[in-house]
């Protein structure tokens, strides 16, 4: 058999999908990505097939399996409920009647103390396997893992209590971890032990997205999380003011060099390296960003709290280029060109960043215990 180039090309091209099929496939993926909260999974993670978010039959299998798991959890919860105990064997009919009443009315089933605001209807917590965390999440191990927020379901896989606290209190986990002084106390496992949490959100709660939870703008869901942590991890913490190194951001003399955002300009945000060869720099880019958002980017880049004292309002476009210095994100990369962050801020945006000490609210963990059995 002789295999010529043309033959290989012909046979391989015979495997190409039709343009219409490509178009349809890409459209389906585009739709799923635009609602990424519902499918926020990674095809090639270490957890195996059960986490495939996926299309067609496999997705149905995953959904059915998840439904079965939740049903089993519900059974376990009903069986353990101290007052309304329902046994599978003796009172199956009662159980089904209760389940159907619940389905019809959307009534909240409490699994723990309920006098502290909203709680999840049903929760399941179990320790992660030995392969949790590590390279999966973006950032330090304490902030690894995956989250999924759907209108009626909250799932956190391989997350530490540290990250759960950050989420519940509206903090940026990676910034907390990189700074190292904003969330203190508690046993070592708080930062290293992973847990898998599945919870049903009451139908009466607003439908939040993963992004809202990440940015601390999902108040009811955050409250449910706080109650969950208090109930199951017996978590107690308090907030206190601590004097620590910060940066003060102030406006320079003269007019600001921030370019106001205009209709049609892209909305974007990026903190990282860009450029080629000798021209590589670290960038803080923004489009349609407020000063508050710019300050968050600066915090990420400097690993230190930044206090905005510019008094500048509005939304802006900017592309700040600099070479990170010791202690800042990106400092470990060789060959980056540009001025220091401080000089760049002054020259490129007419803003001043000054080191100072100021009181900052930090969280102190007073007590945390490994979660109780489901």
């Amino acid at each position: 058999m002789r295999l010529e180039e043309a033959e290989i090309a012909n046979r391989l091209k015979a495997l190409l999908p039709a343009d219409e099929q490509t178009e349809r496939g890409c459209d389906r993926v585009l739709r799923r990505l635009k609602t990424a909260d519902a499918v926020d999974e990674d095809l090639h993670n270490e957890q195996g097939w059960e986490e495939l978010p996926r299309s067609s039959s496999r997705r149905w299998i995953a959904l059915t399996a998840a439904g079965l798991v939740l049903l089993l959890i519900s059974i376990a919860v009903f069986r353990r409920a101290p007052k309304d105990e329902v046994s599978w064997g003796r009172s199956a009919a009662e159980y089904f009647a209760r389940l159907s009443r619940f389905a019809e009315s959307g009534r909240t089933v409490q699994t723990g103390p309920s006098n502290r605001g909203p709680v999840f209807e049903v929760t399941s917590i179990r320790p992660s396997g030995p392969n949790r965390g590590g390279g999966r999440g973006f950032g330090p191990q304490a902030c690894g893992g995956d989250l999924q927020v759907e209108p009626r379901r909250f799932v956190a896989r391989d997350v530490t209590l540290y990250r759960l606290i950050a989420l519940a209190y509206g903090k940026d986990c990676i910034f907390l971890e990189q700074n190292g002084e904003l969330l203190l106390g508690g046993p070592e496992w708080v930062r290293s032990a992973g847990f898998v949490i599945q919870a049903v959100i009451p139908s009466s709660a607003p439908a939040y997205t993963r992004s809202q939870l990440d940015t601390g703008t999902a108040p009811q869901l955050q409250e449910m999380l706080r109650n969950l942590l208090a109930d199951r991890f017996n978590l107690a913490l308090h907030s206190e003011a601590k004097d620590m190194p910060v940066y003060l951001l102030t406006a320079g003399n003269g007019a600001s060099k921030l370019v106001p955002w205009k209709e049609g300009n892209p909305a974007r945000g990026f903190v990282g390296m860009a450029g080629l060869g000798d021209q590589r720099s670290f960038h803080i880019m923004g489009g349609k960003k407020s000063m508050a958002e710019f300050v968050l980017q600066l915090q990420d880049a400097t690993r230190r709290p930044v206090i905005d004292r510019t008094g500048i309002a509005g939304e802006f476009n900017y592309d700040l280029r600099y070479a990170p210095s010791a202690g800042q994100v990106g400092a470990e990369v060789d060959g980056l060109s540009g001025p220091s962050l401080f000089t760049a801020l002054q020259e490129q945006l007419n803003l001043k960043l000054e080191a100072a000490r100021a009181p900052v609210q930090i969280l102190m963990i007073d007590r945390a215990e490994r979660p109780t059995e489901n």
């Binding site: 290989i8 046979r11 999908p17 095809l43 973006f138 993963r210 892209p266």
Partner: protein, 181 residues
């Protein structure tokens, strides 16, 4: 100057206009690549989705900005090869006899035996070789264009293609011989 500003923000899995731009530029290229390697529309969609989810979460190397197309293409080939190899493992563990059914069940075309052999042979090639093979014979890139996209020399591309053709020939012969017995 940055090569591009199209990069989503850290840890915010949002479908930003920048991701939208990248998707429009590269999705067909990625989908077709994944489809040719996996021969399954579902797997091709999964590969495309996984890559863009990573992008939305910024789980990509810093060098991504220098050449997004290179990253997306290389990652698509690797993910697709992993997919077909893991599919093969899962079936072998579960049911040996269903291997061929599983291989062919999602095939978009009724391949002739030679094409099937070619496809099976590709699954055994190193990812770097498959990257070059698909660019050359599926996407019709010239050797120079491949070298530019993948950041290798033209000589490396030519030598790899030559060896790849020889290897495919041997693999296909072995496969045909195995089937005839």
């Amino acid at each position: 100057m940055p090569t591009t500003s199209r990069m989503p923000e850290t840890r915010r899995p949002e479908f930003t206009p920048e991701v939208d731009d990248l998707f429009r530029q590269h999705s067909h290229f990625v989908y077709k690549t994944a489809f040719v390697v996996t021969r399954s529309p579902e797997d091709a969609e999964d590969v495309l989705q996984t890559l863009f989810l990573r992008l939305m979460r910024r789980r990509v190397p810093p060098t991504f900005l220098e050449n997004p197309r290179r990253y997306l293409y290389v990652a698509a080939v690797n993910l697709s090869l992993n997919t077909i190899r893991s599919r093969r493992r899962q079936v072998l563990i579960g049911d040996v006899q269903s291997f061929d059914r599983a291989q062919d069940s999602s095939s978009p075309v009724a391949d002739n035996p030679a094409t099937q052999r070619l496809h099976r042979a590709i699954a055994t090639l190193p990812p770097r070789t498959v990257e070059i093979l698909i660019l050359r014979y599926v996407h019709d890139y010239t050797e120079q264009e491949i070298a530019r996209l993948l950041g290798r020399t033209r000589g490396t591309i030519a030598v790899t293609l030559f060896r790849c053709r020889n290897r495919l020939r041997k693999l296909m012969l072995a496969s045909a011989h195995g089937e005839s017995r």
